[in-house]
């Protein structure tokens, strides 16, 4: 706000910012009046409150008369107190002597009042023709104080000094206590440069140059950075696409690998009913060879053959479902069903490693929205991991607990499944690394299983995490929001 420029009405000065404190040395009364009417006119036209302090030989009426020549509706301004013309005696010397504090607070009061009444600011001019030698020092102090306090205020002050009353020493004092000085001698102008002004001008020039230089530099820097960013964004996009593709491929590869590892178990799953069927068929043949066949036994064996045939067919159906690569659209999915799908596949694997399975399943798990095959894959992965982690531990620790619970959260019920083992486990700092791609603790492990599993669960709006058990092993949990 203080950088807002105001018209001074003085040609030689041009525009000024608020906070300007300038002094004018004048030769004649005409020089003074010419300058000040122009100064006040500019102030009134800019909706500023003007205060004109006159001193002998100029009197208030004379000032009003001179101003009226250039401001035809001065009467209105005077009536609504947009301008006050007062005598130096009333302003500076109230009570007979000059009081710095009183005069200073007088300015600030006027300023506060003017701002409260909606003026843009306060424009002041004060003449010093009344000054006597004895007051000079005190007045210099006042000018200095004003010079310092005026900055950042909506206040502009023009102090006028008669040249006739000023010796060289006084001119120096005045120049020192103002931001700059101008002089009007017989209608011609001179600008007296003060060291401060000179310095400020040089500073401004330097700063301008520096600023321009910095703008150039920053612009070129920004251009470079922009270019860099554009490149980076492109690169990242490409990398993301590549990663996505690699993930897809690995997900498939992992599924195939897991299946490869499970192929033996699956063969076992089919062999088991097949072996039973063959044994029963042979038993029937033996019985039927007898003279009086034991038909009850034959019937019992044939019933078992039919049942085992169904069992083998069921295994085949499940494998088909698991092998289907194309992911099915998300639909309602019941976690108990997913558990039921996967358990028969891992049961033989558990048996082969002498693992004991315990289950604590909630009867009222909410259905979730998801891809049944992907969820089977996650559970399968966690179970196979648990078996692998338990491979080298003593037999009494080869146990696996599968639990499912319902958790009631703000957004409804969630299905939570936990796979707990007594295997080698992990140290707590590893907890998050476990889910990083290519991080593995298994010899020959790809390090993709958990990473993919987490992607799948997160893709379902759920969460997959691991905790270290108090005694041995680890528990992997995943939580999925129930369907609304």
């Amino acid at each position: 706000m203080t950088t807002e420029m105001r018209k001074t009405g003085i040609d030689v000065v041009g525009d000024m910012p608020w906070g300007t404190h300038v002094c004018l040395f004048y030769e004649t009364k005409e020089d003074l009046l010419d300058t000040l009417v122009s100064y006040c006119k500019a102030g009134l036209e800019s909706q500023e409150f003007c205060l004109w302090v006159v001193a002998e030989p100029v009197r208030e009426e004379e000032a009003r008369h001179a101003l009226k020549q250039v401001v035809p509706d001065l009467a209105r301004y005077l009536a609504d107190h947009s301008i006050d013309i007062v005598s130096a005696g009333d302003w500076y010397l109230q009570g007979g002597s000059f009081d710095l504090k009183r005069v200073m607070s007088g300015w600030h009061e006027r300023l506060a009042l003017a701002l409260a009444r909606g003026y843009a600011g306060v424009r002041v001019t004060g003449d010093t023709a009344w000054l006597e030698k004895k007051d000079w020092k005190g007045f210099c102090e006042y000018e200095e104080t004003l010079n310092e306090s005026i900055a950042n205020q909506r206040l502009a002050v023009l102090c006028t000094y008669p040249l006739a009353a000023c010796g060289a020493a006084e001119i120096l004092d005045v120049a020192r206590t103002h931001q700059f000085a101008i002089a009007k001698r017989h209608e011609s102008w001179e600008i007296i440069e003060t060291p401060g002004l000179k310095q400020a001008k040089a500073e401004i020039t330097r700063m301008n140059e520096e600023l321009e230089q910095r703008v150039v530099e920053r612009t070129s820097q920004l251009t470079a950075v922009n270019e860099e960013l554009r490149k980076e964004i492109l690169e990242r996009k490409r990398a993301e696409e590549a990663l996505h593709q690699a993930r897809e491929e690995l997900a498939h590869a992992t599924r195939v690998t897991t299946l490869g590892e499970l192929a033996a178990s699956i063969a076992h799953e089919i062999n088991q009913p097949l072996a039973a069927i063959i044994a029963d068929a042979n038993a029937c043949l033996h019985w039927l060879e007898a003279d009086r066949p034991d038909l009850d036994s034959v019937r019992e064996a044939l019933a078992a053959v039919a049942k085992d045939g169904d069992r083998a067919a069921e295994v085949i159906t499940r494998i088909r479902g698991l092998l289907a690569r194309a992911s099915v659209a998300h639909g309602p999915c019941d976690m108990a069903g997913v558990i039921g799908d996967v358990l028969p596949l891992v049961r033989p694997e558990l048996g082969r490693h002498g693992m004991i399975l315990q289950m604590f399943l909630a009867p009222d798990l909410p259905p979730v929205r998801g891809d049944r095959i992907q969820l089977q894959q996650v559970l399968l992965n966690l179970l196979v991991n648990a078996v692998e982690a338990s491979r080298e531990v003593p037999p009494e620790r080869r146990r696996l607990t599968l639990h499912s619970t319902v958790e009631y959260r703000d957004d409804g019920p969630w299905a939570v499944v936990g796979v707990e083992d007594g295997g080698v486990g992990f140290r707590e700092p590893e907890a998050d690394r476990l889910f990083e791609a290519f991080y593995t603790t298994k010899p020959g492990g790809l390090g993709m299983g958990l990473s993919i599993s987490r992607s799948i669960i997160e893709g379902h709006g759920g969460r997959l995490w691991a905790t270290a058990n108090a005694d041995h092993g680890a528990t992997f949990h995943f939580a999925l929001p129930g369907m609304q």
Binding site: N271, P273, A279, A304, I356
Partner: protein, 214 residues
Amino acid sequence: MSSESPVVFVVDDDRAFRDALRRLLTSVGLSVEVFPSAQAFLSNPRRHAPGCLVLDVRLPGLSGLDLQQELANTDTTLPIIFLTGHGDIPMSVRAMKAGAVEFLTKPFREQDLLDAIRHAIDRDRVARTERLELAELRRRYDLLTPRERDVMGATVAGLLNKQIAGQLGTSEATVKEQRGHVMQKMQAGSLADLVRSASRLGITPAGSGPTPPR
């Protein structure tokens, strides 16, 4: 020789298969007992009956191979036929080295299993007979006095009565009398009989005062 009829013990955790196997073996006139786990089998007192054991390699808890080890550590000498869902070569080598009769992969040919069972039961019968005979020989040997044992050792080593008398510092007549007691107590009809019994008892002909291993 035991008069008990042989029993086929089956240990398999798959109930359907276990029952089918029970029906198959029953249909050919074998007596069968089935168990769902190694522990269930071990806690059964009838496991000392003659016969054989049909054992699944993969079992929850104690595996088939663990059970084989466990039985070897006790005095149970039941011949074992292993069954497995898929042939795992290191596993089958291990099982055979530890004395398994047969290692069959499911699904197996019925005849292979029945042959293996017959073979195993025969082997068990022979082994049991041999064990009984050895026990009888040991009982007879225990009846000998220390001096008679010395004479027996020297005799089966092929020494003449005179040489034995010189070695033991006694008369030839005494040796002849003691040798008569040995032949009688060991129920040996000839010197050849006595030598056979000594060899089965593990008495080496060379040493003096041999100790048969128990």
